[in-house]
């Protein structure tokens, strides 16, 4: 579904990613883990066009999307729930979800039944239904995370990029987020998950890549990495 080849990207003169290659097969959940500053978020930003890569190829299906602006990437069926959630604070919950379906409502992508998808989101996140008319900026952190995920799903994406859905959430809420991810996986949504909490990410993922300083340090089936002490050393040093 998504294939990244020798991706180099950074900010200004700083190269953060020094040539990453990985792929996300259709219907699978792949996770990128690694400590702060390893380049996980930069990778997602480069894929979704928020950041222009310096070189490398990003294949979505058969098309190379590297260097396209983010709205064009979105129109090709990639949804990105960004770090820090980035919901639209002054709009209502329902309008946030509706904007998730912008590409469908404006006829760029197949429209389908948008109203039914609203119900689906409210079914997935009952809390959002209660607060559908409320300004999104007034939601709690956990609710904003649900909204960010719901908003991304409203485009009926071919692939969903999730950036640190657990960030800043209390452990109880983190559980809830991962329950949702599991549910989406059962529905065969293709996902690329970036997580700092390696343990939980490895629990739900099929395949994992461990990033360190802008390079992939090792990869493997998520299960096999679960108890690998190298993962811990990638986070806290001392290897």
């Amino acid at each position: 579904m998504l294939k990244v080849q020798d991706l180099k990207a950074g900010y200004g003169r700083v190269e953060v990613l020094h040539g990453l290659s990985f792929h996300v097969p259709k219907g699978e959940l792949v996770t990128l883990i690694g400590s702060n500053g390893a380049g996980k978020t930069t990778t997602l930003r480069a894929i979704s066009g928020m950041l222009r890569p310096q070189s490398g190829a990003i294949l979505l299906g058969d098309a190379d999307i590297a260097g396209l602006p983010s709205h064009q990437v979105a129109r090709r069926g990639l949804a990105h729930s960004p770090e820090g959630r980035r919901i639209f604070p002054s709009l209502s919950v329902e309008d946030n979800l509706r904007l998730g379906a912008f590409v469908r409502l404006t006829g760029v992508r197949e429209k389908g039944d948008v109203e039914a998808d609203f119900d689906r989101m409210y079914d997935l996140f009952p809390r959002l239904k209660e607060r559908r008319a409320q300004q999104a900026g007034t939601l709690s952190g956990g609710e904003q995370q649900m909204l960010a995920m719901g908003r991304a799903l409203m485009s009926r994406p071919e692939i969903l990029l999730l950036d640190e859905p657990s960030m800043g959430l209390a452990p109880r809420l983190v559980e809830g987020v991962f329950d949702t991810i599991r549910r989406l996986k059962e529905e065969h949504v293709t996902m690329l998950l970036v997580e700092q909490f390696a343990a939980m990410a490895l629990d739900v993922a099929d395949h994992a890549y461990v990033l360190e300083n802008g390079r992939i340090r090792f990869q493997g089936a998520a299960k096999s990495l679960r108890n690998d002490p190298a993962v811990r050393s990638a986070y806290l040093g001392g290897h």
Binding site: G49, M50, R86, F88, T106, R151
Partner: protein, 302 residues
């Protein structure tokens, strides 16, 4: 509360309320222009320093078209013209500066475009002020002791309608929501598939459209000429600052406040000084509360 009733009854007070009424009318014009500033500031954190010229062009072109189209048919033409003019300003002056992240660039470029438009207008329509005929009767309506010109009422109603129309568009249509989303968070809006560059162009188009409309509204009340926009735009900026660059209600309150202060100053102090309080207000508000009286304070991030 005795003093209020004395104030209302005394002969001088009818003049006072008279001044308040025309102050409100002028204030609504400021509010409309300020509203235009808010539109572009919301999407791109930029302002059109040639906003006054957008207003002036609307009024001048309106005056030219009036004999051919009549007042009501002229209006939509002016609105479309305003949109086109705003889009031109954005493409020529603002977009290249946004791409190179040059604040100096867009400030200077919109100023330059403004003086070009003004100079063009001087050469096309001459340097003298012209009279813009009002579509409504010229005789004042008497409300108690206060006499109000129909044109002034039209200014208030028209300005409110314009703002309401833009707000409704923003709240109801998916494109309007895309506009609000872009002003909330431009990166996240891009991720939704919204072409944010086009939204910025649209915001300039709408901004100039409201200004051109304000020009047609204000023209019968004042005189029409190539330099009519400059001071109006500057004072509207004062209003945008007082009201905050993110609040339409703030713009209306600020506009009326300034308009009334001005007409009162003009009458009780001197006509020559009537522009001064607004300008001093800009200096004071910016010195004390840069985010405006109604604006949200933002947290400084490092």
């Amino acid at each position: 509360m005795d003093w209020i009733s004395t104030l209302l009854q005394a002969p001088t007070t009818s003049i006072f309320w008279q001044l308040v009424a025309s102050g409100v009318a002028v204030g609504m014009i400021y509010a409309t222009i300020a509203f235009g500033y808010q539109l572009t500031f919301a999407t791109s954190k930029t302002l059109n320093f040639g906003q006054g010229e957008a207003l002036m062009l609307g009024a001048m072109l309106g005056l030219t078209l009036l004999p051919y189209l009549g007042y009501w048919l002229m209006l939509p033409v002016i609105l479309i013209f305003g949109m086109a003019q705003g889009a031109v300003v954005e493409r020529l002056g603002v977009r290249p500066a946004i791409e190179t992240k040059s604040e100096f660039g867009w400030i200077m470029a919109t100023i330059a475009l403004g003086i070009i438009f003004r100079n063009m207008a001087e050469n096309i329509w001459g340097r003298d002020d012209l009279k813009f005929p009002s579509p409504l009767p010229e005789t004042a309506i008497e409300l108690g002791t206060v006499r109000i010109l129909p044109a002034e009422i039209m200014v208030v109603v028209g300005a409110l309608l314009m703002m309401a129309a833009v707000e409704t568009f923003n709240r109801r249509s998916i494109y309007g929501k895309a506009f609000v989303a872009t002003s909330n968070d431009i990166d996240a809006a891009g991720l939704m598939g919204i072409d944010t560059r086009r939204v910025i162009t649209m915001s300039y188009a709408m901004s100039s459209m409201t200004a051109a409309f304000a020009g047609v509204l204000v023209a019968p009340v004042t005189l029409t000429g190539a330099t009519m926009g400059a001071v109006l735009a500057l004072k509207a900026f004062a209003v945008a600052i007082i009201g905050g660059l993110d609040s339409a209600l703030g713009a209306i309150v600020g506009g009326i406040l300034l308009g009334v202060i001005e007409t009162l100053t003009g009458y009780y102090v001197s006509t020559g000084y009537k522009d001064v309080p607004g300008l001093i207000l800009v200096l004071i508000v910016l010195a004390i509360r840069p985010a405006g009286l109604f604006g949200r304070r933002t947290i400084k991030k490092v």
